[in-house]
């Protein structure tokens, strides 16, 4: 009997924890939305966060995008040459980037580069009682710390995703046109005729915005609930990256199923 009880509680506890976290994260999200009035009155707070998570991620994002585009072009060329349709390389690169790789890889890179930083910063502020100090000064940390970081991240991610896509397309261009000597005209014209603004570009941007909201919410939440110890903060940053990655892939499937029928 005791073993059965232990077994059930072993299964039930993570599940109950998950639901508790879900409720708490939505609670934080609503509090953040309430704080937007304050944040718009103090735009410099957000600009600073865009600098830390957007500007500083620009190089890693565009470099990664460039190489991803190069790889896509090379792999696409190898496969498409079997069917004699190498002129499709351009549209293959662009469609893969716009629909999937751009939003997903940008989100993962952002979670690893900026999201973990956001978590660590909030966690350390908690560990050094800075959040508590704000509370005592009648300033809600959610309003003053979490909301600007959240908004800065949400603004940065789609912009980074656009940069990723463009550098990826140029990476593909370098491989296809400069290295493999494909026709430049058909590279671009195939791309243009096969990509639809609403279907490919806009859906990709919507994906990126959804991912941005999720990652940044996870990042600020993990920092906010982290235990005020070095171990707690390191745990929270790990959780940010792990949770973000899993949720991005799961959400990507759902969004893809909804968008691309």
């Amino acid at each position: 009997m005791n073993k059965v009880y232990t077994f059930i509680s072993a299964i039930g506890k993570p599940f109950a924890n998950f639901i508790i976290h879900l409720g708490a994260i939505i609670n934080v999200f609503i509090s953040i939305l309430y704080s937007f009035v304050y944040v718009f009155k103090n735009p410099y707070l957000v600009i600073k966060e865009i600098y830390y998570c957007g500007v500083k991620s620009l190089i890693i994002i565009s470099c990664s995008g460039f190489f991803v585009g190069m790889v896509l072009a090379l792999q696409g060329y190898n496969t498409l040459s079997k069917f004699g349709s190498v002129s499709m390389v351009g549209s293959l690169v662009a469609i893969s980037l716009l629909r999937e790789l751009g939003p997903v890889l940008t989100a993962i890179l952002f979670a690893a580069r900026a999201g973990s930083g956001i978590t660590a910063e909030i966690g350390l502020m908690k560990a050094t009682e800075q959040l508590e100090a704000m509370n005592v000064m009648a300033v809600s940390p959610i309003k003053r710390v979490l909301a600007p970081k959240f908004l800065g991240g949400v603004i940065s991610t789609p912009l980074l995703c656009g940069t990723f896509n463009v550098s990826g397309i140029y990476g593909g261009y370098v491989v296809a046109v400069i290295i493999l000597k494909l026709d430049e005209g058909s590279f671009w014209s195939q791309m243009i005729s096969n990509i639809d603004f609403h279907y490919d570009v806009l859906n990709g941007i919507i994906k990126s915005i959804v991912f941005a909201i999720v990652i940044n919410l996870i990042s600020v939440y993990q920092g906010y609930i982290s235990k005020p110890t070095p171990e707690g903060v390191s745990n929270a940053t790990t959780q940010t990256v792990v949770n973000s990655a899993i949720i991005i892939f799961a959400l990507d499937y759902i969004l893809t199923a909804l968008m691309f029928k």
Binding site: Y51, S85, L98, S156, P158, I169, I192, S193, H198
Partner: protein, 152 residues
């Protein structure tokens, strides 16, 4: 770092980001600013077989994209598939134009090719293109080919 420097860098970042989104929307994709922002009109055409034609497939004239497939439905009376096409208002077609479902390459996507006729009157919004030829279904073609061989 100074506030001015941060503002400047963030400004550049936002410009790069918006610039790349603009590049993606305008330079890389069709149907934006060129087509969808301008007025469009609708034509329909019935086909015996549309093959694997899908909504949003391109409509081309001499290979040039002039619109896209807006909707596909089945006419319950004669069991023909009706394709509603959304065409850019810049392009007019004579009343005896013909529509044909073609495939890009051997295995590529299907699209509708329009061919203008000789009439001087133009098709208006809501009109129907009467001269159509259906999609080429590879299985039927192979079937015909095989029966031809066996009868010989």
């Amino acid at each position: 770092m100074k506030e001015v420097t941060i503002n400047f860098l963030v400004g550049i970042f936002v410009l790069i980001g918006i610039g790349s989104l603009f590049f993606l929307s305008v330079k890389i994709s069709n149907n934006f600013f060129t087509n969808s922002s301008k007025k469009s009109y609708f034509l329909s055409a019935s086909f015996n077989n549309i093959g694997s034609l899908k909504v949003a497939a391109p409509i081309k004239v001499s290979g040039f994209i002039v619109g896209k497939v807006y909707n596909i439905y089945l006419n319950q009376h004669n069991y023909q598939a009706v394709v509603v096409m959304e065409l850019n208002s810049d392009y007019k077609f004579s009343t005896d134009s013909s529509a044909q479902i073609l495939t890009t390459g051997l295995l590529g996507e299907q699209y509708i090719a329009l061919q203008s006729g000789a009439e001087s009157a133009y098709l208006k919004n809501g009109d129907t293109i009467s001269i159509t030829s259906s999609a080429l279904v590879l299985e039927n073609l192979i079937g015909k080919f095989l029966t031809n061989i066996s009868t010989k």
